[in-house]
């Protein structure tokens, strides 16, 4: 089982900054990248707030790790699934999210954000080997 790439899904359902889970999830993803597994991230429920643009933590004096999401592409983490219904309920559109991209061989960088609806998200979850919940 350990010789082939396993499908890992990191499920992010909590808002950033009020608790440490968003930051910790990002840390594991970056460390996990070295293991060369098939990695996806899911942002649903309040997890969509993690990748909202314009986060400024100076006033609460904590680390602004939101820019680190931009590094995911460099670590070959290219599949960031974002649930449409979760955005809708929170008054957000994809334009409110950071532009998160990855390099490709040809021409421009491609977006890593893949907006899916709830039933597509359920299907993605059902195709994983390991689900890590944050």
């Amino acid at each position: 089982m350990s010789d082939e790439a396993r499908k890992f899904l990191y499920v992010n359902r909590k808002a950033p900054h009020g608790s440490i889970y968003a930051l910790e999830s990002l840390e594991v993803v970056l460390i996990g990248a070295a293991f060369e597994q098939d990695v996806s991230l899911a942002f649903l429920d309040d997890g969509v707030f993690q990748i909202v643009k314009g986060q400024d933590t100076k006033g609460i004096a904590t680390k602004n790790f939101s820019n680190t999401y931009r590094a995911l592409g460099d670590y070959d983490v290219r599949k960031l699934y974002v649930e449409q219904e979760s955005l809708d309920e929170r008054g957000l559109t994809v334009d409110d999210l950071m532009e998160l991209t990855h390099d490709t061989d040809d021409e421009d960088d491609l977006t890593s954000i893949i907006v899916v609806n709830r039933s597509e998200m359920a299907k993605i979850m059902s195709e994983q080997d390991v689900i890590l919940s944050f």
Binding site: L44, R118, A122, K123, M125, S126, I131, S133
Partner: protein, 102 residues
């Protein structure tokens, strides 16, 4: 390929059960543990949501947690099955993956 979902929060306090049920697929199972068990008390909006989900997935309650919260067979929503820790392990083993709705 099926998933065992765990829900450990009260549906009156948080939305994790709602989110879990919205992402359950046919053949999946949900186990209510810790404070999550109160969702299975019959006659509530949460129990109604659970009963509606039973058409596509099975719902279990962790018996020791239910007993701790004063629940027994009589107060349990129809169609919800009770398991002990050994049954919880068995469910985790017989489904292909576990997803915790924390």
């Amino acid at each position: 390929m099926s998933t065992l979902h765990t829900v450990n929060k009260s549906p009156f306090d948080g939305t994790s059960l709602t989110s879990c049920l919205a992402h359950c697929l046919p053949g999946d199972a949900v186990i209510l543990i810790e404070d999550g068990v109160v969702a299975a008390r019959k006659g509530t909006a949460a129990a109604t949501a659970i009963e509606a989900s039973l058409a596509q997935c099975k719902v279990y309650v962790l018996g020791p947690d239910a007993a701790a919260r004063g629940m027994n067979g009589e107060t349990l929503a129809t169609g919800v099955e009770t398991v002990d820790y050994g049954g919880f392990v068995e469910l985790a083993a017989t489904h292909d993956r576990t997803q915790s709705w924390l």
